[in-house]
Symmetry: C2
Subunit: 212 residues, 2 copies
Amino acid sequence: MPRVADPDVRSRLIDAAMAALAAGEEPSLRPLAAAAGTSTMAVYTHFGGMPGLWLAVRERAFDALAERLRQLDETDDPVADLVASGVAYAEQSLADPALFHALFEVRRTDTQPASAVMTFAVLVGAVERAVAAGRLASRCDPIATAIRLWAMTHGVLVLVSTQALPDTALDDHLPPMYTAQLVAQGDGPRRAAKSVRAGWSTRTTDRPSPDG
Amino acid sequence: MPRVADPDVRSRLIDAAMAALAAGEEPSLRPLAAAAGTSTMAVYTHFGGMPGLWLAVRERAFDALAERLRQLDETDDPVADLVASGVAYAEQSLADPALFHALFEVRRTDTQPASAVMTFAVLVGAVERAVAAGRLASRCDPIATAIRLWAMTHGVLVLVSTQALPDTALDDHLPPMYTAQLVAQGDGPRRAAKSVRAGWSTRTTDRPSPDG
DNA sequence: GGAATTGAGATAGCACTGCTATGTATAGTG
DNA sequence: CACTATACATAGCAGTGCTATCTCAATTCC
């Protein structure tokens, strides 16, 4: 058997692509290969082409998101935990809008990375804990509820990241939207509001100041 | 003064771009010019380049959406009307997913077409009527409420159109999400549910059948 | 240890992309 | 009718992703 593919090259190509995205540039074949210190062919041996490289980038980004979600520690308030995971999702996405955009740009690859499912499972688990704790109605479907919370978060994020809404929209609208949805799933209005406030307080990213 | 630009050429270029999008192809300069029966330079005299053409395409798409929203007739149930406008937004978007995607692909042009604001104003107006009719609380901010309903709709649409969620997600999740949000704004749970059902029944597009 | 083999990676050229410098002819004006 | 300013045509630019070809190094066999 002959020479084996160098995993460093593979990793460096993904690094270069993510760096380009973070820098606001469109990752393209030749500059990427140059930045990774290799030739264009490496992209084809390792990823089969640019779509494959895109998929790898998305995989890594979803891995980072899953890791961040995993590091959230469970408190005694599962509803607040649920909101905290939404905060993590939002902050991770806004930290690198170009990357966030790439995550859901299915057109380029046509395949969802496996790690994407993992991040969703975390959300479903949090809903299940909230049901088990008696906060949400027992007949509430955890998957459906997770989907709805996710879709709300995602919708605001997309509109903010495309500048259809100002940056403040996140803090202005997402908490009340969460509360409304949680109340509809059986949580008490006051308890829901309190938990949403608690969960939202895990937000760490600098938010735009009114006197900015 | 000399020769004047032919508005037909301009229109034909936009037509060709929208046709390409509808056909699932990426509109590109030379094929577009050929389809419009002109040369590549026409794109530059009329639009200043491809980004300008993209902006024109988005303008026309938003115009079509605004026209569809305008044609919705007001019933005596303003909350149902509100939901009906969400249905129109969703159906217009799903009718041509590539076009919908282009609408919010700000990266390509950096400018929001003026007609986009008009479509949002329709939504705000519907919320205001719901408040005036006593269905929603008088302290509820129409703009904030409109944003939240829009963001929910948009989030589900994006996830469906990128195939992160199945087509059925629209009918499965949007109505209960609407209801939850409307109840949070002061509408009665039963009245809200009934109005959402009424508004959602304006849906005409074929939805995937369970035995499909 | 030396030789054969097989695939990683380098080079060059393909068709395509949007864009621009240059030409040409045509419509409007004196 | 002559002039001019501009819409549109042509050709060539640098860039894109991809592939055919070549080289050469790493692994396995003897």
